[in-house]
Chain length 225, copies 3
């Protein structure tokens, strides 16, 4: 049943998936609302950026997999985004660094969504490559829309370890699932792995090597020519 | 029948819905083409911006609801966008303020699409929260694509009353529909409500209060830290 | 069978369509990766920009037509994007002008995708207007996402002959198909036509006339007013 895990828990594991989904939506909605607070938007802007960030990744995943869109089936996800956006609107003035908070919320949401997205793709019958892609899409696409609409530079294209951490989480889950590991364990380990990669990268300032023009290049190739 | 109102009128009300849909598509296509004229694009740019603005919101609504996309079923919507874009290309030089015109056309299209979108969601079986969201998506998403592609700041994230007016129109329709009000009346009242909220906001310069850092904050939180 | 040509060749022609599809995906993935190289991204950025550019247009086409998304059905398309992105990451330092190369790869991918997109729409039962639109969407949407994410100005809205060439290719195919011309011939001629229009435009610097304010306008209309 592809609808399992989409708000209609039928087993304890489906309940866990549903809870993770709710938590992921809530923390991503919070990152969207925090971008709105940094841009000093009104409450409708908070609600819109919160909602597109919270549900954007899962929406694209469901469209690509041909599944009913999760928040159309279960509108409470939408309500969660609005409640979170409202909470941020009225509490974001409390003095502490919103930028750091945004980064850590984002890391938690990213790790959760990467695993939930891969899980849902496998439940829908996808193979490993598509499942990993769906995990990465679920984890990153909401943030991409948030950054495009908020006119920030998309974080997934920066030299930061971001999509790489989503890849680690989704890949870890797919591998453990293929090895027959119990789902609760696979989900827990994979979320932890994705969060650790992102968290360590944040804490230690890790980056992947960027493409750099090599010596052999003629200088005029660097101009836009 | 979810296809009712999608170009196959079966009752007088379906015919009214179809006519509103056509008018909404045409006025949104005009706003897209007017942005193209402000950017001094060629006629293909007019056609592309006109089409994505005219049909973008309804396209996303249909994808999210799992319905066949309206302009794939009824290609005349696409033709309308192209005709309108062509008309604007050849008439936009007539001397008057295109910027004001764009704002009022946009207000009319927004109010129509908010109600048509909510109506179509209800016909497809959605509950009130999803219906209101679909109304807002139908009303605003075409303009979001227009603004992103035209490299303008998205109007829905500005402090203007825009998404709020779409919310008023869609919410009014959903409430009247739930109260059992006759559809023709509900559509008429809701479109009028949405247009008035947007029109008064334009005329009187209304805005919602924006989020502002409160006194208790340390100045360094305002830097990007 | 709408699935024909989607990685399950059943006739020689389907095999040709599938091969063109693969080549189009590969060249578009290369243009995405070349943008990543110009922005000096890391290898994950290469993979992401390569994949969204390679499969973005066909993904939107399949969603709009209500077909299963081609790379979810046939994940090898995704693998092709990743391989191409990796190749570009390790070879793009070879000294020659990547900008010219990008333009000519882009022209080939554009012409192929315009025809493949129109073909797939006709196989799915669409009429001529929708088939031409699907050809243009398949040909241009991946590049639009590439340019929006890479923070470049979208090439389809520039005064260049780009969407116009996609229109020429898709329109030529739809016309030849309607005239009963053999599919292999129609595809070959239409791809050649689209590539020639784009190639000549590149080589000779053709542009369409842009909209320009006419004499009758008052100067204050040019200010944003």
């Amino acid at each position: 049943m592809p609808l399992a895990g989409m708000g209609f828990p039928e087993t304890p594991f489906d309940a866990v998936t549903a809870i993770l989904d709710v938590f992921g939506v809530a923390v991503f909605a919070a990152t969207g609302a925090l971008v709105a607070s940094r841009k000093e938007m009104d409450i409708v802007g908070f609600a819109l950026l919160g909602a597109v960030t919270g549900i954007g990744g899962g929406t694209l995943r469901d469209l690509l997999l041909g599944l009913p869109v999760f928040w159309v089936v279960t509108p409470s996800y939408l309500v969660i985004c609005l409640v979170v956006a409202g909470l941020v609107f009225f509490t974001a003035h409390i003095p502490f660094s919103r930028y750091r908070l945004l980064l850590w919320f984002d890391a938690a949401g990213m790790a959760l969504f990467a695993v939930v997205g891969a899980e849902k793709a496998i439940l829908a019958g996808a193979g490993p490559a598509v499942a990993i892609a769906m995990g990465m899409i679920t984890a990153t696409f909401g943030g991409v829309i948030r950054d495009v609409l908020g006119a920030e530079s998309p974080v997934i294209l920066s030299p930061e370890i971001y999509a790489t951490a989503a890849l680690a989480g989704a890949g870890c889950f797919v591998a453990l699932d293929a090895l027959g590991v119990q789902r609760e364990v696979a989900v827990g380990v994979a979320v932890f792995a994705g969060f650790c990669v992102r968290g360590l990268a944040l804490h230690l300032g890790w980056t992947l090597p960027r493409y750099r023009p090599r010596p052999g290049r003629r200088p005029e190739d660097l101009s836009r020519k």
